[in-house]
């Protein structure tokens, strides 16, 4: 349980004059659910985008599973085993739920152009396997009855689930969820909490960015708090909750003592 999966060292990111992240260092252990919280504009999503290669950091580095993670190349990051979802859902809208997940298998399949044109045995076998696995994945997140529905016609909660299924299809070691509970009602949030627990139980480490403090505190093994691009706390939820800096960041200085 205590093997380090991801170590971030002094990550910094500037946008022009805005210092979005300042020397952020975190350690995520294998098999845990790690929460990243902070007030609006604290730099949570920026951290996410730097980690997953959408942005290039101005300083610092990530050590993932023992070796340095390249920056600025999203598809390589996914290949190394970090999958992500988006704060504002980004599905392939014109594709069915099933096809979305099948597309997620792109990375872990290797049929060549020649194999596809000749439909050789490897390609046919792989295609069958991908279809089967995609169905399994839909069942895993609980939306297999919507397999042939266009993803844009799914309900909001189902779209969130589908995005998680698609990310899991890339067979990640670390699943990074960007505000998965945003806009969900209490029932949906409860179901989501269960799903995330299951995912962790099945051996995938989870990095969770979330506004819903109750969800984070109830679900996460450890939590880090960002404020104005700096890490102000990192510990188990119970300790973080009592940290005066955290209380000040969320509620203002008069509540801090």
């Amino acid at each position: 349980m205590s093997i380090t999966l991801l170590e971030t060292q002094n990550i910094s990111k500037r946008f022009g004059g805005l210092q979005a992240l300042t020397d952020v260092s975190l350690t995520i252990k294998k098999g845990e659910i790690y929460g990243l919280i902070g007030p609006n504009g604290a730099g949570k999503t920026t951290f996410f985008n730097v980690l997953t290669g959408a942005y290039t950091p101005n300083g610092g580095e990530f050590i993932f599973a023992g070796s340095e993670l390249p920056t600025g190349t999203p598809h390589v990051v996914v290949e190394r085993g970090i999958a992500r979802t988006f704060q504002n859902i980004r599905l392939f809208r014109e594709m069915t739920a099933l096809e979305n997940v099948m597309a997620g298998h792109h990375l872990r399949s290797d049929s060549s152009l020649w194999g596809i044109l000749t439909q050789n045995r490897h390609t046919r076998e792989e295609e069958r396997l991908i279809t089967e696995r995609a169905f399994e994945m839909l069942r895993y997140v609980g939306i297999e009855h919507h397999a042939t529905t266009l993803s844009r016609n799914l309900s909001y909660g189902d779209q969130r689930r589908l995005e998680i299924a698609r990310a899991l299809a890339t067979e990640p070691q670390l699943l990074a969820l960007d505000e998965p509970a945003a806009g969900m009602n209490a029932t949906e949030t409860a179901q989501l909490r269960e799903l995330i627990s299951t995912i962790r139980h099945d051996g995938v480490t989870v990095l969770l960015i979330e506004h819903d403090v109750k969800l984070v505190m109830g679900l996460c093994d450890r939590v880090a708090v960002l404020n104005f691009g700096k890490k102000i706390a990192e510990d188990v939820p119970a300790v973080v909750q009592k940290n005066p800096d955290v209380i000040e960041a969320y509620l203002g200085s008069s509540h801090a003592h």
């Binding site: 997953t52 290669g53 959408a54 999203p74 598809h75 996914v78 290949e79 999958a83 992500r84 988006f86 980004r90 599905l91 392939f92 809208r93 014109e94 594709m95 069915t96 099933l98 096809e99 099948m102 597309a103 997620g104 298998h105 792109h106 990375l107 399949s109 049929s111 152009l113 596809i116 044109l117 439909q119 390609t123 792989e126 295609e127 991908i130 279809t131 089967e132 169905f135 069942r139 297999e144 397999a147 042939t148 529905t149 266009l150 698609r166 990310a167 299809a169 890339t170």
Partner: protein, 366 residues
């Protein structure tokens, strides 16, 4: 093929098997019917098939990968000129078709890569502008590369191209059956082109339902999300450009061999736009739609041309509107109506990725 069959009104939804055989029969006897009305009509059908190939290739780039390409005709030109260089008296080379056609496809694919590499970061309007420029550059090159060294023979073009010679069988020669009955070469060209079209459809179909096709669709729907699931968008886009261009190159080679003559004016911007119109008109992303669009838009103007003159003569006694003017007028009208009534094309691509056979495959496992 299935899309075409299902699209037949009434019969398509009731008896798909019968509808499919109707489509097949139509494809096979079309040139014979056309031959009854004169050889011009067979020639028009031949060209329609070339346009089908072009539209299929362009659909791969625009409909599948979502990369708007307004210079697609350039690849057609590359294929045609490859044939002109390698199989005509121009350079004195007379290579066989099984060398020239792949060479044309290869050069076209290379041209696709050359176009694709600098435009990887562009999308939508910006991409359209650059590809439009590319198409024009190729045409202008063909037009001007006759000095200081004569490569393309300039605006005069290259003529006396070798015709299609399939392992000793010259397609352009009439086949005499009896003394006063012979099978016209135009009809034979039709069947040869039909084979190529069927081959293209099979290839494109296989690509569409593969990991590559899904990668393209992902890029089309959301490029950022495609990157986030590990799709190498650079390679997939280049592949789309190259594969699309390949079909253009093959069609170009066939065009050269069929026409026996190539010149830069065959590859104008209007042609690019015409092919894009076929794709949009028929239904972007739907193979059957694209085929219907290409056939409809290459046949309609010709039918119109042959009908408009006599009709005007009969009604007014003289010709008021030149068919050429009328053609553009009615075509634009058709496009506008189309966009109003069926914005997604004649056969929209709704069901593109909802494959029922997959659904049943999964249910069996539950």
């Amino acid at each position: 093929m299935n899309e075409l069959a299902v699209a037949i009104p009434w019969l398509g939804s009731r008896n798909p098997k019968a509808a499919r055989s109707v489509v097949l029969a139509l494809m096979l006897i079309a040139p014979l019917i056309a031959a009854l009305c004169g050889n011009t009509w067979v020639r028009i059908l031949d060209f329609a098939l070339l346009y089908v190939m072009l539209a299929l290739g362009l659909n791969l780039v625009v409909g599948f990968a979502g990369l708007l390409d307004l210079g697609y005709i350039a690849f057609y030109a590359v294929g045609a000129y490859t044939w002109a260089f390698l199989a005509s008296p121009h350079f004195g080379l007379h290579l066989p078709f099984w060398l020239v056609l792949p060479a044309g496809a290869g050069f076209a694919a290379l041209a696709g890569l050359i176009l694709g590499a600098p435009v990887l970061r562009l999308r939508g309007d910006y991409l359209a502008i650059v590809t439009l420029g590319f198409g024009e550059i190729v045409r202008i090159f063909m037009n001007n590369l006759n000095y200081p060294i004569n490569i393309t023979n300039g605006p005069q073009g290259v003529n006396m191209l070798d015709s299609l010679n399939l392992f000793g069988w010259d397609v352009s020669r009439h086949i005499p059956i009896t003394d006063n009955f012979k099978i016209n070469s135009l009809v034979m060209f039709y069947y040869v082109f039909l084979l190529f079209v069927v081959g293209s459809v099979i290839v494109i179909r296989r690509l569409q339902v593969s990991r590559i096709g899904r990668g393209w669709a992902a890029i089309r729907d959301d490029e950022l999300a495609a990157k986030a699931i590990g799709i190498n968008t650079r390679n997939m886009k280049l592949l789309a450009f190259a594969m699309g261009a390949t079909f253009g190159g093959v069609a170009g080679g066939l065009f050269g061999s069929f026409q026996g003559f190539v010149s830069p004016e065959s590859f104008s911007l209007m042609e690019s736009i015409a092919i894009l119109t076929m794709v949009v008109f028929g239904g972007m992303g739907n193979l059957g739609g694209v085929i219907i669009g290409a056939i409809a838009l290459s046949l309609l103007p010709e039918i119109l041309r042959s009908v408009a003159l006599p009709v005007q003569h009969a009604i007014f006694g003289h010709v008021i509107l030149d068919p050429e003017v009328l053609r553009m007028l009615l075509l634009s009208l058709a496009m506008i109506l189309m966009m109003l009534i069926r914005p997604a094309g004649m056969l929209p691509a709704h069901a593109r990725y909802s494959r029922p056979e997959l659904a049943s495959a999964g249910k069996g496992k539950q």
